[in-house]
C-alpha cells in the first residue's frame, strides 16, 4: 500500500474503511459481480418495459393463441392462451415481483433493524415486550393473516396488489428484528458503546450511529435471502387469488397459468420460470459475494 497515493490535495491521508475493503473484495468476486449485472439488467428491462416500444401486456393477437416463440414477429417467449405476448408479460410481471422484493427489503431494513436494535440495546422489560410482539406476529399463519387483511380492508379502499405489499411488509421485518437483536446484544457489551454512553451520547444515537452500522454485515446478507423468499410468497398469494389480479401479471401468476397449460404450451411455463430462476440465482451469488466480502473473520 502506498501512502503517497492516498493523500488528498489538502494533505490528509485517506482512510480505508471496512466498507471500502468489503467493496474491494466483492468486486474481485466474479460470480457476485455477474449476479449483480444480471440483476441490474432484469430490473432495467422490467421497469423500462413501457419505454421499449413493445406491445402492451394486454394486447391480444387472435392469430397467435398459445403460439410458440416466433422471433420473426417479435414473440420471443411465445404467447399465452389469450394470445398475449409472454415476453412483455414476463417483463411487466417482473415489476411486481421485484417491487415485492424491494418493499420487503425496505420494511425489514427500516423497521426490522430499528426494532431489533432498540430491543437489544434497551434490554430488560422493553426488550421483553418488543420481542413478544414479534413472537405473536410470527405465530399468526401468513395465509390467515392475508385473509384477515382482505376481509378487514374493503376492496374499493385498497387495490389487492397494494394489500399484498402491505401483508408482505407487515411480516418481512420479523426475522430481521430477531437477527439484529441478537447482534445488538453482543455488540452492546463492547467498550465503544460504553464510551459513547459515557460521553453523553443519547440512546437513539448509540443505536443509529454505533449499533446498526456494526450489524449491517449480517443484515445485508440476510436481505439477499429475504428477497427470493418474498418473491415466492407473492407467487403463492397470487396463486390463491388474493394478490395480483388479471389482466396484471407477476412471475408467480405467469408460472401458475403456465403450469396449467404445460402440456400444450410448455414455453408458457419454461420462459417465465427461467427468468425467475436466473434472477434468484443472481441474487444468491450476490448474497454469497456479500457474505464473503463482509466476513469478519477475514478482517
Amino acid at each position: 500500500m502506498t501512502d503517497a497515493a492516498m493523500v488528498s490535495p489538502r494533505g490528509e491521508v485517506k482512510g480505508r474503511s471496512l466498507w471500502a475493503d468489503a467493496r474491494r473484495r466483492f468486486l474481485r468476486n466474479r460470480a457476485a459481480v455477474a449476479g449483480l449485472v444480471v440483476l441490474a439488467v432484469v430490473t432495467l428491462l422490467s421497469f423500462g418495459a413501457p419505454f421499449l416500444g413493445l406491445r402492451a401486456p394486454d394486447d391480444i393477437n387472435w392469430d397467435m393463441i398459445s403460439a410458440p416463440p416466433d422471433y420473426a414477429q417479435g414473440y420471443y417467449f411465445g404467447t399465452d392462451q389469450n394470445g398475449r405476448d409472454l415476453f412483455v408479460r414476463t417483463l411487466y410481471g417482473g415489476q411486481v415481483s421485484l417491487m415485492v422484493g424491494l418493499v420487503a427489503t425496505l420494511v425489514s431494513l427500516v423497521i426490522g433493524t430499528l426494532w431489533g436494535a432498540s430491543a437489544g440495546y434497551l434490554g430488560g422489560r422493553i426488550d421483553n415486550v418488543m420481542m413478544r410482539i414479534v413472537d405473536i406476529l410470527y405465530s399468526i399463519p401468513f395465509v390467515f393473516f392475508v385473509i384477515l387483511l382482505t376481509v378487514a380492508i374493503p376492496r374499493n379502499f385498497i387495490a389487492p396488489t397494494m394489500l399484498m405489499y402491505l401483508a408482505i411488509g407487515a411480516v418481512s421485518w420479523l426475522d430481521m428484528a430477531r437477527i439484529v437483536r441478537g447482534q445488538t446484544v453482543s455488540i452492546r457489551r463492547k467498550e465503544f458503546i460504553e464510551a459513547a454512553h459515557a460521553s453523553g451520547v443519547s440512546s437513539w444515537h448509540i443505536i443509529t450511529r454505533h449499533i446498526i452500522p456494526n450489524c449491517l454485515g449480517p443484515v445485508v446478507v440476510y436481505m439477499t435471502l429475504t428477497v427470493p423468499a418474498v418473491i415466492l410468497t407473492e407467487s403463492f398469494i397470487s396463486y390463491l387469488g388474493m394478490g395480483v389480479q388479471e389482466p396484471d401479471s407477476s412471475w408467480g401468476t405467469l408460472i401458475s397459468e403456465g403450469v396449467n397449460a404445460m402440456e400444450v404450451a410448455p414455453w408458457a411455463v419454461i420462459y417465465p420460470s427461467g427468468v425467475m430462476v436466473v434472477t434468484l440465482l443472481a441474487l444468491n451469488f450476490v448474497g454469497d459475494g456479500l457474505r464473503d466480502a463482509l466476513d469478519p473473520k477475514d478482517r
Partner: protein, 331 residues
C-alpha cells in the same frame, strides 16, 4: 484543604448472579464493590490497585454512573449524582470521562478517527460548524501526539498506542474535570506505556484534570498517582498518599503487593522484606467472614474472622482497615 471534586460515600455495587429459576433456585449476590468511601481533590490522581476481580473497574464505572448502584452516594461538587434525572446526568457526562484498557475495542470500527474524537463535542455543542469541529479535532489530535492529517483513517489502521491516543483525545475534547483510566496501558508495549503515562501526566498538568488511575501494576501507579487506594474483594484495605503508602505500607496486603514490585537497586532489593501471599483470591461470591483478607493474611487472628476492621486513620493522609496494622508508632 480544597473542597473535594468528587466525594464517594459507602458505595456498594452488587450483581445478582443466576436468575431465580422455575423452582426458585438459589440467587447469589456478588458484592463487587462493598462500602467504598473516598474523596478526590481537583487536579489529583488517585491510583486504584488490587488483584484481578477485586472490583476496580466496577468501582470506576459506578462512579461515572455507567452501572446501577446498590447504595451509597457519589457527590460531584456538592450534587448527588444518583439524584439527577437522566437528562441532567447526560449533561454532567461532559465533565467526566473514561479511557479503557483495550484501545481498539473502545473505538467504533466503522467511524474515522476524526468522527470518533468529534462525537462528544458534537453531542454537547451541536451548533458548531463542521469546519470548526474539524479544526478542534485536529488541534486535539496534535495535542495527544497524533498526526492531524490522519483524521480520516479508521481505527484498524492505527497501532495500539495510537488508538489509545485517539481514546484520550475523545476523552479530553470537552475539557472534562475527571477521567477514569481503566488500565489504560496494560494492553500496550512497555515502551509505549511510558509515553501514554507521560501524555496523561502532561495533560493533567495543563488542564488541571483529576484522574482515577486503575492498574494492577504498582510501579506505574507509583509513578503517576498522588494518592493510592488498595482494594481487596470490593473493600478498601488502605488508602494513603503515595509516599507514605510505598515507604510505609501498613496493611499486610499492601505489604505483600509492594514486596512483589522489584526495586532497581539490588542491595535494597535483597534487603527488602518479602511477604509472599499464600493461597488464591477467595471467590467474591462467597467472601470470608470478618476481614476478607484473613484467609491469606500472615497476621490473621481470631478477631479477624469475627468482624471486619473499620477504615481508621493511621497518619496525616493515611487510612488503613486492619486489626493488626503495623502502626508506625509500634513497629
Amino acid at each position: 484543604m480544597t473542597a473535594p471534586l468528587l466525594s464517594v460515600n459507602d458505595l456498594k455495587v452488587h450483581f445478582e448472579i443466576g436468575r431465580r429459576g422455575l423452582f426458585g433456585g438459589a440467587r447469589h449476590v456478588l458484592k463487587a464493590v462493598d462500602g467504598v468511601s473516598f474523596d478526590l481533590r481537583p487536579g489529583e490522581t488517585l491510583g486504584l490497585v488490587g488483584e484481578s476481580g477485586c472490583g476496580k473497574s466496577t468501582l470506576g464505572r459506578a462512579i461515572l454512573r455507567l452501572l446501577p448502584l446498590q447504595s451509597g452516594r457519589t457527590v460531584w461538587l456538592g450534587r448527588d449524582l444518583a439524584r439527577l434525572a437522566p437528562r441532567e446526568m447526560r449533561e454532567m457526562r461532559r465533565e467526566m470521562q473514561i479511557i479503557f484498557q483495550d484501545p481498539l475495542a473502545s473505538l467504533n470500527p466503522r467511524m474515522t478517527a476524526g468522527e470518533i474524537i468529534a462525537e462528544p463535542l458534537v453531542t454537547f455543542r451541536p451548533e458548531l460548524k463542521r469546519a470548526e469541529v474539524k479544526q478542534r479535532v485536529q488541534a486535539m489530535m496534535a495535542k495527544v501526539g497524533l498526526l492531524p492529517n490522519q483524521i480520516n483513517r479508521y481505527p484498524h489502521e492505527f497501532s495500539g498506542g495510537q488508538c489509545q491516543r485517539i481514546g484520550i483525545a475523545r476523552a479530553i475534547i470537552n475539557e472534562p474535570r475527571l477521567i477514569v483510566c481503566d488500565e489504560p496501558v496494560s494492553a500496550l508495549d512497555v515502551s509505549i506505556q511510558a509515553q501514554i503515562i507521560n501524555l496523561l501526566m502532561d495533560l493533567q498538568a495543563e488542564m488541571g484534570l483529576s484522574l482515577i488511575f486503575i492498574s494492577h501494576n504498582l510501579a506505574v501507579v507509583r509513578h503517576i498517582s498522588h494518592r493510592v487506594m488498595v482494594l481487596y474483594l470490593g473493600k478498601v484495605m488502605e488508602i494513603a498518599d503515595r509516599d507514605s503508602l510505598y515507604a510505609n505500607p501498613l496493611h499486610p496486603y499492601t505489604q505483600a503487593l509492594n514486596s512483589a514490585v522489584p526495586v532497581p537497586d539490588p542491595d535494597i532489593e535483597r534487603a527488602k522484606p518479602r511477604v509472599v501471599l499464600k493461597g488464591d483470591l477467595p471467590s467474591p461470591l462467597n467472601p470470608p467472614s470478618g476481614c476478607p483478607f484473613r484467609t491469606r493474611c500472615p497476621r490473621a487472628t481470631q478477631v479477624c474472622a469475627e468482624c471486619m476492621p473499620a477504615l481508621e486513620r493511621a497518619g496525616a493522609d493515611h487510612m488503613v482497615a486492619c486489626h493488626h496494622a503495623a502502626m508506625p508508632d509500634r513497629p
